[in-house]
Amino acid sequence: MLEQIGVDSIAALFAEIPAELRVDGTSSLEPGTGRNPRSEGVPPSIVSGEAMSEMAMLRWMGERAEQDAGLACFAGAGCYDHHVPAAVWDIAGRGEFMTAYTPYQAEASQGTLQLVFEYQTMMCALTAMDASNASVYDGASGLAEAILMAVRKVARKSRSRRVLVAETLHPHYRDAARNIVANQGVEIETLPMAEGRCDLQRLPDDGAFAAVVLQQPNFFGMLEDADRLTDWAKGQGAAVIGVVNPLTLSVLKPPGQWGESGADIACGDGQPLGAPMSSGGPSFGFICAKAALTRQLPGRIIGQTEDASGRIGYSLTLQAREQHIRRGKATSNICTNQGLLVTAAAVHMALMGAKGLAAAASASRANTLRLVERLTALEGVQPLFPGPFFHECALALPKPVPKVLDALLDRGILGGVSLAKHFPELGNALLVCATEKRSADEIDTYGQALENILR
């Protein structure tokens, strides 16, 4: 090949790089000092920089994976240990899906395109919305995109850049959304809570908000009065953004039907639809909207069309919203999204059907009820709020939560999520969740363990 090119070494191919910038390989990046740039805190095998065979790499990483494994998971808080049918990743992992690129060449990408079209349809069915995009990064960053949509469009009249966010929203969602939208001068304000739900007594009525953000079930697993909140918000001229768990929508009222006219945007994290927990990522964020907001959606959208002989096909559409066409005027800078997780989600929903999703959601609630019953039978353990909760529940413990969690770890139990950092005012508060995967034995073991720890 070098001969055809007409050079005599690979090094010659890099001749245009100014000599003073050249380094001689990643292996000698701190020339002169003799110091290995990867030293402190890194295992020797990595410091050395020797290539590992696939086998050696899998052993090394396998040891680390093993180190953290084997806990019975009672943590939720936005990431759930649901069963994923074996077929889901057998299909999503097929090279044709996994190693394809973004379907810019539609004719060579009908597999992905039709699948995402079907996914969009399913998400619209779950949320009772008119349009869905093909995913954003995750639920939290997706909320930022939803807020920007609302600010751009719905609030054109009011010109308000203020957004009211329920205090009962996942605090990480609030943080991420704020961190993103603040750069565009959007201000996030808080709708206060009472007893773990939005405080209906303290709803502002000055009509100054571009959008109101509700989560259902909320961060504490509680069910908000979504109808009333929606009607109130719309009465104020604000757009309503519902942050929802798509699995629970198999049994809960969809945002599109909240109140008189429904929320304007539904968004959330798709993790409960076929994605393993995987330390929180990759999963995917979804955004669905009422028709009026379709053109405000960020990211890719698939539409149905035809070829010259009338055969139905699918292609990326409304690309004029996107960065590769509209550059600085795009609805978002998103490019790479979370396509493969959407693939898994579509297969997951097709396999589970409405019936399977409802069964998983109901079983998760049943298990959480059983867990709460078991734990609150212990002295000093109580539900923090009167309810109703869906499949997560905040509990008050008689001891500091981090210590309890630590002691539970010793017994192989991930006992939930401490609320100490984000809600110190709630005292020794622990958020628990038992999905359909938790067995009666595991729930019992948890009860027993906690009993011993609190004793």
Binding site: M1, Q4, I10, L13, F14, I17, D24, S27, E40, I46, E50, S53, E54, A65, D68, A77, I91, G95, E96, F97, T99, Y101, A106, E107, A108, Q110, Q114, F117, E118, A140, S141, H172, D175, A176, N179, D225, L249, L252, K253, M277, S279, P282, Q304, T305, E306, A308, R311, S315, L318, R327, G328, A330, C335, Q338, M349, A350, G353, A359, S362, A363
Partner: protein
Amino acid sequence: MSTIFDLSQAGRNAAAQCAGPDGAALAGLPEAALRTRPPELPEVSELQAVRHYTNLSAKNFSIDGQFYPLGSCTMKYNPRGAHRAASLPGFLGRHPLAPERASQGFMECLFALQEILKEVTGMAAVSLTPMAGAQGEFAGVAMIRAYHRARGDLERREILTPDAAHGTNPATAVMCGYTVREVAVDGNGDVDLDALKAAVGPQTAGLMMTNPSTCGVFERQAVQIAQVVHDAGGLLYYDGANLNAILGKVRPADMGFDVLHLNLHKTFATPHGGGGPGAGPVGVGERLLPHLPVPLVARDGGGYRWLTEDDIPGTIGRLSAFAGNAGILLRALAYALMLGRAGMDRVSDFAVLNATYLATRLKAAGFDLAYPNRAATHEFILTLAAQAKAHGVSAMDFAKRLLDFGVHAPTTYFPLLVPECFLIEPTETECREELDRFVDAMVAIAEEAERDPEHLRTAPHSLPVGRLDDVKAARDLKLRWMPG
């Protein structure tokens, strides 16, 4: 092909996936919170779902099946071993909020990756949390903004980009509240230094730039550009989408960049998944250290701990619910481990060798390079303007016809400043025979363009559908399946 909804029959389901308690579990919930009718999801058997999606998958091109010389997108082979590593049950089953004590294995992996990325870029610190290149850009520009603000320098409202820049660069600048000013690229693909000098000023927050640039050439004035921007008080952003061209040859830090993102799904290993996911870690020099997005992993005594807002009060904060696309980060680490340092250097060797070979052969076959005086990098640009003029066939027609040859089309019409362009990146994982087949296909199509241009204009001819009507798709919006 039928949609999954066409296959649906009321009452059908995959029984093994539908176990669970009956409605009783929902008793006690307020009526108003519940759905009145189940969502209209497909009702199919497990076989139907598996068969439907298996057959759908066959309608995709993919790296596992085809050569994919997509410039800028780096469609290379990603070793299955990396996928296997990230799919280890211990990793897949880890809850993101598991206490540090139960997360040391995972955190060690992240820490190791941070260190490796520091080394290959020369930056002072790396945060892994951004979930794709564009979010990395966002994090980077948000840090630039935070930097100026922290210094009370509030008048810098503008981000500069070369006019050939990737669309995410200007879009990101706007998302971060900046206006964008584009700087021209000259006829050799380098930034016009005079235009740049004229553009910078006290309003300049920074400049975003890729190198090798989106013109497929190495920006030789990188150091001068840095000088100009720094002198004006701005910071330099390196869009790392093309890092595979220079791994082990030159480090962004040495070119004067203050902040960068890496597309792990390009330079490191992640199959593109039909659109994602990716990961876009950011690296920074000393100046931006106080603003890194959280969480990060730090070494602490014998173990690892998370750095959060408490540790980095000037942080631009978190950008996702948890810690980014952990699974993609693990793939990147697996890839780096299998390559080792020497292998990493070979990535750029072979990426550039393959591209240069392809450019040489295509040129010899009569195609026009957009920058004939420049060395190819890991990618290069062809302009089909001559063919368009002579035979009335566009780059798009060439692209669609290539599909019939079982080759994915190169990136077309980007960068926009080159007419009828193909941005071609063969990547380091393809072998010579595959490159030769591509040249053969291009030559065959060029001949066909003379003989039967209509055949190109109506291509593709051998795929599941013919050329699709994009205009109709946007005009008669059908964004979801409707019965009947």
